[in-house]
């Protein structure tokens, strides 16, 4: 190992384990030539891991090895660098440190194979020996560097400043960039020459004829880099590193290391001294640590000695007091800000695997479901029991599909909330209804030859109201095809999905929830068959709709047949369900059943017949349900026969037949009077 002295495991799997127990995720391991190349995933709080030296330092600390940084021996020549070039930082919040080095008389050419190869293994294309050195040192140290052709810098120097209105830069990739005012830029006396920490400019790049190089090794403010990079939509190796904020102290080391390598590979002379602008020097951070709290938070008995040793191996300085230690943070660990950070450092190196598994000693309470969770669960269970299969559909939709599914332009359901930054044309808005998603489920299945589909979803819908954006839960149902299997010899109409099949499911749900005060009444909805559509009302308020999908919509979605859909708001349905159902005494006296065939005008709904019966039959009527509807001879044209079955019962005594006959006479009279009914 070049950088670490320690007993080296040969097996890459052992390395993988070692890396990941430190928090360095191993994305991939590949063999290239004699080398194993580990693709490590670093966390955003550890900019020091964006350089090999940082990883080596960490591994050395964790494994009690010795970290060996490459040594830099610069042979410097006169004149001093500051006589040849200059560096300035203009304005706050841009750059915390800017180190420049000047190398003159370089001969730009290809890099030696060892360097080109190493760069390529890291996914960086070899360009020339000067640019390659800046990239190589970045990979080593994590410090992004940039090399300017000094002879192309007007005035022989650079200033770090905010872009001015109207400034433009052609970057290394040949793109012309219009800069927003405030963008972090490097400029010479005349113009912008680079985006600070992100990408250099084409004009001042290193070319074969370049002789004098100004090296930049800076600590740009992470927020300034991030904002500039995002505004321009650029992400580079450099910007990623700057955005995470590295070690301000490493800028000098990286500049010197790069200057030395350039001298080695491209000849030339390194001018004496460095241009070091450090407008805002910061003292090392000191953080206190209470070992007792550390043990309390971790739940493991880490000895003081071991904790101190771990911190010291990580290059923290520890001053131990009786209860409270003062820990000085090394400059490459700017992520460590407070006690918890130190506790994590100890835990990490101590080993998460050495922390025991315990159960909380807090007083244990009983678990619970929030009412809205419980409500959804009940609805879901009832629909499952009704034989429907649960589906999950995306809450993101294409707004123009709302039109396709039959919702007219001025309808409230068309007021979908748009995403400001959609990724594709397919997902531009939040759904206002489950209808579209469910029709899509039918379409997908129909297209694949699955003709029998009976599904539901409990999901959220979103809408814009005057009070702002809102979301609520809805229950959606969609049915097509047979609702029974093994239907040989059965009449098709008995087994196919139908309006009344759907209505039955809705009724079963409402009954299962013990909902009172609901009614289902004919009402058209634009996406439904105009004569096979109804609204659900609870205590007069409309909370849902159901019906046959409009044939035109069926055609548009290629459903090739009839489909039935419903959507109900969840909340109004479950309010009642929260009450504990109360027992109603069972009646043990015999019931008397009577059938009556009521002939009425064809336009009279069966529900009217039942309503009239209920209205006059009095408290002894226990149930009344239509059981047959018939048109055709001997019923005269324009009329139909609705046969209803009535069940009478008095829970206290046995009913006399004559009593029921009298009630029936009253029922007949009322039907005659109110519905012009005759009887068969």
């Amino acid at each position: 190992m070049e950088l670490v002295d320690l007993p080296t495991p040969q097996d890459p799997a052992e390395w993988e384990e070692r890396f990941s127990m430190l928090g360095l995720g191993v994305e991939a391991v590949e063999r290239e030539g004699d080398d194993w190349v580990f693709d490590l995933e670093t966390t955003t709080n550890r900019p020091d891991w964006l350089g090999l030296l940082g990883v080596a330092r960490e591994v050395a600390a964790a494994c009690r090895g010795r970290f060996r940084a490459p040594e830099v021996h610069l042979e410097e020549s006169d004149p001093p660098a500051w006589e040849v070039a200059w560096v300035e930082v203009a304005g706050p919040g841009l750059c915390h440190r800017y180190v420049g080095r000047v190398v003159v008389d370089v001969r730009v050419g290809p890099s030696p194979p060892w360097m080109a190869e190493r760069l390529e293994r890291c996914g960086i294309r070899s360009i020339n020996n000067v640019v390659d050195v800046t990239n190589y040192v970045m990979l080593e140290t994590g410090q992004p560097l940039h090399a300017f052709d000094l002879d192309r810098l007007a005035g022989g120097g650079v200033v770090v400043r905010a872009a001015r209105p109207g400034e433009v830069l052609v970057t290394l990739d040949g793109q012309e960039r219009r800069l927003h005012p405030g963008a972090l830029v490097i400029a010479d006396r005349e113009r912008v020459v680079a985006l600070g920490g992100i990408m250099g400019g084409l004009d001042t790049e290193i070319r074969p004829e370049t002789r004098r190089v100004l090296l930049e090794s800076a600590w740009f403010h992470p927020v300034a880099v991030r904002r500039t990079a995002r505004a321009l939509g650029i992400r580079t190796e450099g910007s990623t590193r700057h955005e995470r904020g590295g070690d301000p102290e490493r800028a000098r080391f990286a500049a010197a290391r790069a200057a030395q390598l350039i001298q080695q590979l491209a000849g030339g002379r390194v001018l004496r001294g460095e241009l070091d602008v450090c407008p805002d020097p910061q003292p090392p951070r000191r953080v206190s640590l209470r070992p007792a709290r550390m043990r309390r938070v971790l739940g493991v008995d880490v000895a003081d000695e071991e904790a101190a040793d771990i911190l010291q191996r990580l290059e923290f300085q520890v001053e131990r007091g009786p209860d409270r230690w003062v820990v000085t943070v090394p400059s490459h660990r700017r992520d460590v800000e407070r006690e918890e950070d130190l506790i994590e450092e100890v835990a990490r190196i101590y080993g998460y695997d050495r922390v025991p598994e315990t159960l909380p000693v807090e007083v244990m309470g009983v678990g619970a479901l929030a009412p809205e969770v419980d409500a959804e669960r009940r609805v879901r269970e009832l629909l499952l029991r009704a034989g429907l299969t649960e589906v999950l559909t995306l809450s993101l939709i294409r707004a123009d599909h709302l039109e396709r599914v039959g919702i007219p332009p001025d309808h409230p359901l068309r007021r979908a909330i748009p995403l400001r930054n959609p990724l594709t044309q397919e997902h531009t808005h939040l759904r206002t209804t489950l209808l579209l998603s469910l029709v899509d489920v039918l379409r997908t299945n129909r297209a694949r030859g699955n003709g029998d589909v009976h599904v539901f979803e409990v999901g959220r819908v979103f809408f814009a109201s005057e009070a702002g954006w809102r979301e609520r839960k809805a229950v959606g149902i969609a049915q097509m095809g047979r609702s029974l299997r093994g239907t040989w010899n059965l009449p098709q109409e008995a087994v196919q999905a139908s309006f009344h099949g759907l209505k039955g499911v809705v009724e079963a749900l409402l009954e299962g929830l013990h909902l009172q005060g609901w009614e289902i009444e004919a009402e058209p909805f634009p996406w439904l068959h105009p004569y096979r559509a109804a609204a659900l009302r609870v205590n007069g308020r409309r909370v849902g709709w159901l019906g046959e999908l409009h044939p035109e919509v069926c055609d548009r979605f290629d459903l090739r047949g009839r489909a039935y859909v419903a959507e109900l708001e969840l909340e109004p349905l479950v309010e009642a369900a929260r009450a504990i159902p109360q027992y109603r005494p069972l009646a043990y006296t015999p019931a008397v059943e009577r059938d009556l065939a009521v002939v009425v005008d064809s336009s009279v709904p069966a529900g009217e017949v039942v309503r009239v019966v209920r209205g006059v039959a009095g408290g002894l009527l226990e149930a009344c349900e239509p059981f047959d509807v018939y048109t055709g001879p001997p019923v005269p044209p324009g009329r139909k026969s609705v046969a209803v079955r009535m069940r009478f019962r008095d829970p206290g005594r046995t009913l006399q037949s004559e009593e029921v006959d009298r009630l029936l006479e009253r029922v007949r009279g009322a039907l005659r009077d109110q519905l012009a009914a005759s009887f068969r």
Binding site: L298, P356, A386, S395, P422
Partner: protein, 327 residues
């Protein structure tokens, strides 16, 4: 007389033998025992005989009557059984025809896994809650110690509605929503949808599910986090499951860990966890000196893929009934 009785007995026996229906048996009965039946007539003629003859003939005739009644009953029973059998045979069904199968509702495989997860945490004393999917930057980021311009925001490329509103990128937002309204000890878990601007492919969808929970108390330790999550993992993945905690980084926890479970000989990463960062507790109005808290967030969709051997995440959302019927 005796000869007549014997002849009669033989004749009746033959007739009964040849009777093939209960009606024919009845006809035999009528012929001999009916009001004008042969045996009835004979019995009726007894008084005309002399007393000694009467005694002998009476005994023989009554014996014959008893015998005849028994035989009639026996034959009728026999034939009734055969007739019932014939009737039932005519009603035979073809048991090989398919059964009339009612619809059996099936949970969506993800819905089922989420219910399992809710049940496990509920059994460990957690309160199962929900929160909005339309979130604010405040709860989705700032209260989780992710200030504006924090690099962690890159990893969670979000769908925005306007400058302040977005679709939640994790369910941890629910944690910081409920925390200020409760007094420790708190144990809360939520399972729900999250959104990220991911291009759809076999392992990515812009909509996915997460389970997220936390526990606050005076003595909550990192070891408790390990214990609770290990128990959860064993409940969901099987009693032999091992759980691995590896250091990681989240702005809202410190220390932070990634959780992986052993499943069919592989490590499967299921989520992240850690001790809530003191700043997160402070922002929720909880004194981090007095209380400590752990928090965790686990994926649902990708672990479900591994659990059920599903190779394409899009299958969850297509809702092909052949897929749905498999779980």
């Amino acid at each position: 007389m005796e000869e007549r009785v014997n002849a009669l007995r033989q004749r009746v026996a033959r007739e009964l033998e040849s009777a093939s229906t209960t009606e024919e048996v009845e006809a035999v009965r009528r012929r001999y025992l009916g009001r004008k039946g042969e045996l009835t007539q004979l019995l009726r003629s007894l008084p005309q005989l002399s007393p000694p003859q009467r005694v002998a003939a009476g005994a023989a005739l009554n014996e014959l009557k008893e015998w005849l009644e028994e035989r009639l009953q026996e034959r009728a029973d026999q034939l009734r059984a055969r007739e019932r059998d014939d009737r039932l045979r005519a009603e035979a069904v073809d048991v090989t025809l398919p059964g009339r199968r009612p619809l059996v509702g099936r949970e969506h495989v993800l819905g089922r896994m989420m219910e399992e997860i809710r049940d496990i945490f509920r059994s460990m004393g957690f309160e199962v809650v929900e929160g909005p999917e339309l979130e604010t930057e405040e709860f989705n980021f700032r209260r989780l110690n992710i200030p504006d311009d924090h690099p962690a925001r890159d990893a969670q490329d979000s769908f925005y509605l306007d400058d302040e509103h977005l679709l939640r990128t994790q369910c941890t937002a629910v944690d910081v929503r409920v925390m200020p309204h409760r007094t420790p000890p708190i144990r809360v878990v939520t399972v729900g949808r999250c959104y990220r601007r991911d291009v759809v492919d076999s392992t990515h969808m812009p909509v996915f599910h997460q389970v997220d929970g936390f526990m606050v108390g005076e003595g909550i330790r990192f070891s408790d986090l390990k214990g609770v999550l290990a128990e959860f993992a064993r409940q969901l993945w099987g009693p032999e499951t091992r759980v691995r905690f590896q250091p990681s980084y989240f702005p809202f926890t410190e220390p932070s860990a990634e959780i992986a479970v052993s499943f069919r000989g592989r490590w499967l990463e299921i989520g992240g966890c850690g001790m809530f960062h003191p700043r997160v507790l402070e922002m929720a109005g909880i004194d981090p000196e007095r209380y400590t808290a752990f928090a965790f967030g686990c994926g649902v969709d990708r672990p479900a893929m591994v659990r059920y051997g599903i190779d394409d995440i899009r299958l969850f959302w297509e809702n092909d009934v052949r897929f749905l019927a498999q779980f």
